[in-house]
């Protein structure tokens, strides 16, 4: 592979990030390091701060204190959502959010990396390169037959894949994926795990997921969040045996 990732380099680095909503600490001095090319699974009970962490990384929420550094020297806490997206951080939401009135093809076309200015988009014509890229993504996400369908008419699983496809079209360095298999059938879950592993060959991925079977299928390093900070980190077997994790999950 030509664009082989330089493993061992830090891609994303969170240091002492705290977010408070009306006195509730959603993130409590959270620190996290993600290597280039890594896939990381984030687990944790409801309210552990998983979604807030993604909000902070993508610029939706500003932390009260702490640093979020991308690619060694970019401070993400100073940027807004479009700028962070342009840097190469893509996000898939928990609830699939695709542009429902538009066709599958157009959804991918809008997601393709490129000029985001109104002036460009007003006069843009679809290029052969764009066509090839979209066809490739349709292939990867198994949506080739649905290319001309309105995305509102897709099944739940297909919408999830379309959204992952849109992430791919953005050509991000880092993908943040929030509960990708919620509501999927077992077969779809398995295909999604396969798809994410394929994506991880060229990009770094952070997956938030409740489904332990899915996390096991991913077979990657796991971070357990609890009350806004890291409770435990390591292989799935390691964290499952961690007494702190057992206490949180099984109750006191």
């Amino acid at each position: 592979m030509s664009d082989r990732l330089n493993e061992g380099d830090t891609l994303l680095y969170l240091d002492g990030v705290t977010v408070t909503f009306d006195g509730f600490r959603a993130l409590n001095a959270l620190s996290l390091v993600l290597e280039k090319g890594e896939m990381r699974a984030m687990v944790g009970p409801n309210g552990a701060g998983k979604t807030t962490m993604m909000d902070v990384i993508t610029g939706k929420t500003r932390p009260d204190t702490g640093k979020v550094v991308f690619n060694k020297d970019v401070d993400l806490t100073k940027l807004d959502e479009p700028s962070i997206a342009a840097l190469g951080i893509g996000r898939k939401f928990q609830k699939p959010t695709v542009f429902e009135p538009l066709s599958v093809w157009d959804n991918l076309l809008l997601a393709l990396a490129g000029d985001r200015s109104p002036r460009f988009s007003m006069f843009a014509r679809q290029t052969p390169e764009e066509k090839t890229k979209i066809e490739g993504i349709l292939e990867t996400t198994r949506l080739t037959d649905a290319r001309n369908r309105r995305s509102a008419d897709l099944s739940h699983g297909q919408k999830q894949w379309l959204e992952i496809g849109m992430l791919l079209a953005q050509e991000p360095q880092l993908l943040l994926v929030d509960e990708p298999v919620a509501g999927m059938t077992d077969a779809e879950t398995e295909q999604t795990a396969h798809l994410l592993r394929e994506i991880n060959k060229t990009r770094s991925v952070v997956v938030v997921e409740h489904d332990m079977a899915f996390v096991r299928a991913l077979d990657v390093k796991v971070t357990v969040l609890h009350e806004g900070s890291v409770l435990s980190e390591g292989s799935l077997d390691f964290v499952s045996d961690d007494p702190k994790v057992i206490e949180v999950y099984l109750g006191r």
Partner: protein, 372 residues
Amino acid sequence: MKLGMSGYIAILCVLGGAILLALLNQLTPASSAVHVPTYVMALVGKYLCFAMLALAVDLVWGFAGILSLGHAAFFALGGYAMGMYLMRQIGTRGVYGNPNLPDFMVFLGWKELPWYWYGFSWFGFAMLMAILVPAILAGVFGWLAFRSRVTGVYLSIITQALTYALLLAFFRNDMGFGGNNGLTDFKDILGFNVQADSTRAALLVISALFLCGAFLVARFVVDSRFGKILIAVRDTESRTRFLGYRPETYKLVVWVLSAVMAGIGGALYVPQVGIINPSEFAPGNSIEAVIWVAVGGRGTLVGAILGALLVNFGKTWFTGAFPEVWLYALGAMFIFVTLFLPRGVMGLFQRRSKREIEEEMPAAAAAHEVTG
């Protein structure tokens, strides 16, 4: 650019209809059975200007989800720019015969022309202002509102406040726009008598041309990639940000374009009705424009034109036949459309929804590949 069947029919009807009316007015004697009286021409010309306002509303409401309840403000500002030009053309033919000042300024005892009236003797300058003033107001308003992420009903309320504030401002004599009475008693436009039948006929055809031009521009915008992004912003604004788009700039561009369209509509309106006064800023006018779009079919462009024409013909007939019930009829129509025709009159023609057509497309394409 694909106009679709309804697009071609709309252009044909608007342009063909206007030309036909103008020719029948000009070429047939008044005694003829097919003669079109001048007042009918003026009426239709007025409706075509309203249709431009409706098109402007549909562009922002139907495609960007911005429900403007103040679009008549841009229409009126364009109208005032034209009105100021027409006032300057009166020259010494005013009641007071003052060569430098319009009648109302002489009446108020003003000695000098206010600076903001400079340049309006020139048609080109006045028309530039008919475009620039709405554009700048929309630009400043939109920049502040969209950047602060004001959306939905809050934005609608601010637009309503905007037009109401302008209404109050233009009522004041000190503003220098004729106060309550506005600008009227026009004589010439580009040297032609505004009252003459031939001028009326020309204005009607010009209004039709501009309406078709505005329709083509709107069609181009919504069919472009920009238009698709606009729809994405309309339905899932936050999602577009995470794709790297700045929804506020997209909204601002279409908002300003729409304001310019409304301004041109207003500029064409004034010479045909012969007056512009602050009542054009009345909040009710903007709301009526939204009703035209809803009746015709929001987000269809052709529907906006159709709705404006239908409702206004209805209004003319109704206010003649049963003047006191018009507002009830308008309200009832709006409720009826909202409940039973969510896609407006255009929805009746689009029984085969887009979805059905698109679902057929892959099959059709596959069949084509096999046979071709």
